[in-house]
Subunit: 242 residues, 6 copies
């Protein structure tokens, strides 16, 4: 039995609150249970010097935990872990973005964790995709882009082995004691973008790896459905801006 009563292949309640703030080009408060991440998207009409005149754009991400997002206060600094996570988020979102359709624009997806209860990096990818979809849809609606540059959904989830049992979507209490911790990023069409599995004080066999991949595929399919519902309507106009 899991601490929160879920089945091993069951996600926590997932929510996407669009335009939670209204200053950025896109803004989504994503929730996976008690984990909540504010994803905001900022678009600049320019690219770094080395990309000019290529006709292509670029997408990067930044990831940060607010000091009060954890019971033990977190110091304000960018740790190695944070950098590793933001590189992952950026690569994942770039995998489903057509940089030529995007044109010479620089996009930053900021993922600020308001409340951390495990799975903050995968929640960031899921919520970041929705915020990015909204920000780009606004450009399409405004006639600045001819076609929406996102080519597919992108979603992610954690899986892991706890007490020898494979489980989907680990909260902190499970994550902290997991023998194996794996983050999987997939597209809406079921292909892999990233597979990152780590054993902590244990190792894992090929059959366990297969079971974890199956669990993740199922969870991600559910998340993609929720993303589709979230962006089924066009992004609402923002007061004084749209």
């Amino acid at each position: 039995m899991r601490p929160d009563g879920r089945a091993v292949d069951e996600l926590r309640p997932v929510s996407f609150e669009r335009d939670f703030t209204d200053m950025a080009d896109g803004s989504v408060l994503v929730g996976f249970g008690r984990t909540r991440v504010l994803c905001t998207v900022s678009i600049e009409g320019d690219v770094p010097r080395w990309m000019r005149d290529t006709g292509k754009g670029w997408v990067t991400a930044e990831y940060n935990m607010l000091p009060g997002s954890s019971p033990e206060r977190i110091r304000r600094r960018t740790s190695g872990r944070d950098q590793e996570i933001q590189r992952l988020i950026g690569r994942s979102l770039r995998a489903v973005c057509d940089m030529e359709l995007l044109g010479e624009r620089s996009i930053t997806v900021d993922c600020d964790v308001l409340s951390a209860d495990g799975g903050t990096r995968t929640a960031s990818i899921c919520g970041g995709w929705v915020a990015l979809h909204d920000a780009l849809a606004r450009l399409v609606n405004a006639g600045e882009l001819g076609e929406h540059p996102l080519t597919d959904h992108c979603a992610a989830v954690s899986v892991g082995i706890i007490d020898g049992q494979c489980r989907l979507d680990l909260p902190y209490a499970e994550d902290a004691g997991a023998e194996v911790d794996m983050n999987i990023v997939m597209t809406g069409s079921g292909s892999f973008v990233e597979v990152q599995g780590t054993a902590e004080g244990a190792v894992f066999g090929r059959d366990q790896l297969d079971e974890l991949l199956d669990l993740a595929s199922g969870g991600i399919a559910t998340i993609v459905d929720l993303q589709q519902k979230a962006v089924a309507t066009p992004p609402p106009p923002r007061p004084g801006r749209d």
Copy 2:
């Protein structure tokens, strides 16, 4: 006529959402119009080495704007302006906290601006006070403190001169063009804690200073009423923690 239709002595809609997140010891999402700041309070049962064995505690604040809190993305770094603001917030809250009643505890009040439309530092003080009140009330309820250490309310508001007219609670659009910008911090009993007035490309006379102080006093009295309502009920128990 002000851009948002308010009278010169009228506050923007003010809201305090308690326990917006539930990891920290206290957490309030404060809103002044479109300005929204997440204030979280973390308590450590220890003080820095130089304060040990004094029997007294300490309160500091940190202030930060999220990158997506502004239409033009803000880089993640602590600017000189940020440091100046967090020193102000810390001094203000310390002015109404009895450090001997607090005992040897270190409190950090983190003010993370989710959406910035002027008055973020004064909103931080107002919301930080409510979050601090909740965090300390939890210690009192748990029997760890005999008496609540806050001796009075503490609230703040901005006032300024725009086109020669004195106005209360400036949003960004007014603040950016103000000839004089002033932040006032007061207690619930109507005394001053801080008076910070700055002329930008203009100077101001004694009579204008008096008018600004009157405007601020009125606004702060209203905010103190709202704080009282906010903390009229004890802080709600947090799932799995209280």
Copy 3:
């Protein structure tokens, strides 16, 4: 009775030693009692990229305490307090400088505290104004500027409440124990540029604020007279440079 025998509305001995060093464009060693600050002015014939082609110049300040300026050695680093002070000095001097008359020049006023006995930031403003006046007068004398860009005097002084008594120009011994500490910046014509009052472990009422503002106005009028005497003669030629 004050520790140094002064009346509550009496300044410490104030001195301006022009061209104390002769490398910078302007250089003044300002003294308020044992507080001594070396103010040097450097002028560059260019402005930051974002100001080019505006026809306007810019004035900034840097503030620093030498390690040996205090009985307890001060580490070499720019603290948050230093940044807050240098922003204040810069704003104050800009308030009396006509940026169009200055033209596209960048001016840095460096305030290095040689000896710190309270009131270093206000002394920096008073001495910085004289050094800036000299540096710009040299440009006028050399025919590089048609008109002197300073539109008025700018001077500052600290006031505070000690043992319930309002006093002018606090040395360190008074400042350290003050209930209220206030720094006031005014022009030669008696308008306010900055009002910064802070209660430390106490609060203050409106009548006390009024008394402090009166004390400051009187002190600043005296300092402005001394500034006038200091710049009554043109800046002396520097060996090998003028």
Copy 4:
């Protein structure tokens, strides 16, 4: 046909030069083709404060590319990529080290890349294991440890998809153009420690993932054989130290 004529499941020439330098407790120059990494192991007889009195030790790694290790000079700084890699190396080696047998000792495995031609992180793990084995064997030989704390081999290799073809052990020329890049870390007994697969501008299916895992397993088995040969003899005494 691969650029260097290898079969798709063939490793580059692999070499372990023990005690390449003789100052550190263990030192191995590992080569995978033109990729060469100097792995040195330093042992301190103490652990960080938070681990004291646990009876356990700790192993961390640092990874760095020398400026001249690449045709385009690399600036001396620790990038986010470097931090991500050194965290991977540390986790991998910890997975096969019994921290209780190690006792309260802190071990740092420094991996300095002398020549970079792809696969530097996996080479670092392979060479780091040999250097760590030597350093600990010296402690066993000296009677400071009763039993060798390494519980198994640990080796790693990169695999990837280039032009739709799965290949083992990618040099830079292949890595730079790979659609999918994967680093696999395994134990001598064939279990997984880490699986890190990343699509660059492409995605990959489950069958491709399986093929890559097969390729990696085969390569790692070969590397483990070479590690066994390398440590078959005890570490040679170092002049003036052993």
Copy 5:
């Protein structure tokens, strides 16, 4: 003929102004022509952890140029050159200080250049020695030290080759164009502490080296005489401190 009319073996006017400021334990404004350096000495009654219980003290120096000390403003940062210089000053003063007589005290000699016209590092050593002598004399006078720990004078001067001619005590105008630049530190008894000679775009022979060493020895003998005169009387009492 030299630019300032001096003979090749003639020093610039040298001055030592004791207790130029009165906060530090010792304070000397040293002048070599237009070069002026404020040397202040701070004494702490403790040593770093690694020196405790050795019965010995330590002396370090810090060197810094004020931004306005040069016609072209100098940015506030510690450059590699600054660090090299402060290491030289520290080593030089330690060479004539008996660390056992000093006891477990940490001394910092801060050398802040107010005006830079060449020879700032050698002036710092000469003035630092006088300030250090005064600070330690105060400890002797107060009965905290039984014997003065300085065992000899320490003085320094620059020499160089300009247009093939060896010259003593180079101002900036000569230093900037020198083919060889040498800084010599000697004791009062005529022994060497440091010899640092550098060719810039030229090289030098053994005979030139000998000529430069002769020039320096003569100049340093003169400086030592001036130091002796400076410290012939005990350090004056400081208001409110001695």
Copy 6:
């Protein structure tokens, strides 16, 4: 008798291993006994902005000790000592390089110490010269340079006084206890480039200085012979690059 049995005027075994790595434009592993430094040379076809259109190039050096190069692990950071050393290496190599023949190219000589047993800075100069010679010879061979820009050899050695005895080429064991430590840089034609002598807890007389200079001259003549042998043949072609 010296610890390693050498005569006072005898060098340790000196070796130059050319193209130890093959990514950089020049690469030499230099050995002085157990001291080993990897010197790599990187050439960029551009100069910093302030040198453009002068027709001249520039040579700088960077110096770094690998963490495992010393029995006590060295932290990865650039210390003040490192900066002082890399400035010395850069100046020394520039003294024998004709910047006009070099043309507008920026050269970086990276000296990474693999094993530190004293004399790492002088070994860096000796090895850096050979690596620089090779890198420039490749440009000459490729027809990119008409004439080799090195005008002479440049070599360096340490000398010192131990127990009152002058000795050549100090290993760490001697260096750590030396009363005087001196580093001498000379050209192939016997002129001085740098003379840096430092007394540690002792001073030295003119006669001792003369004896040290004689020892160094002899040692450097031997090293120059070895450099000549090392570069007697043209640099070997590098696989896939030349």
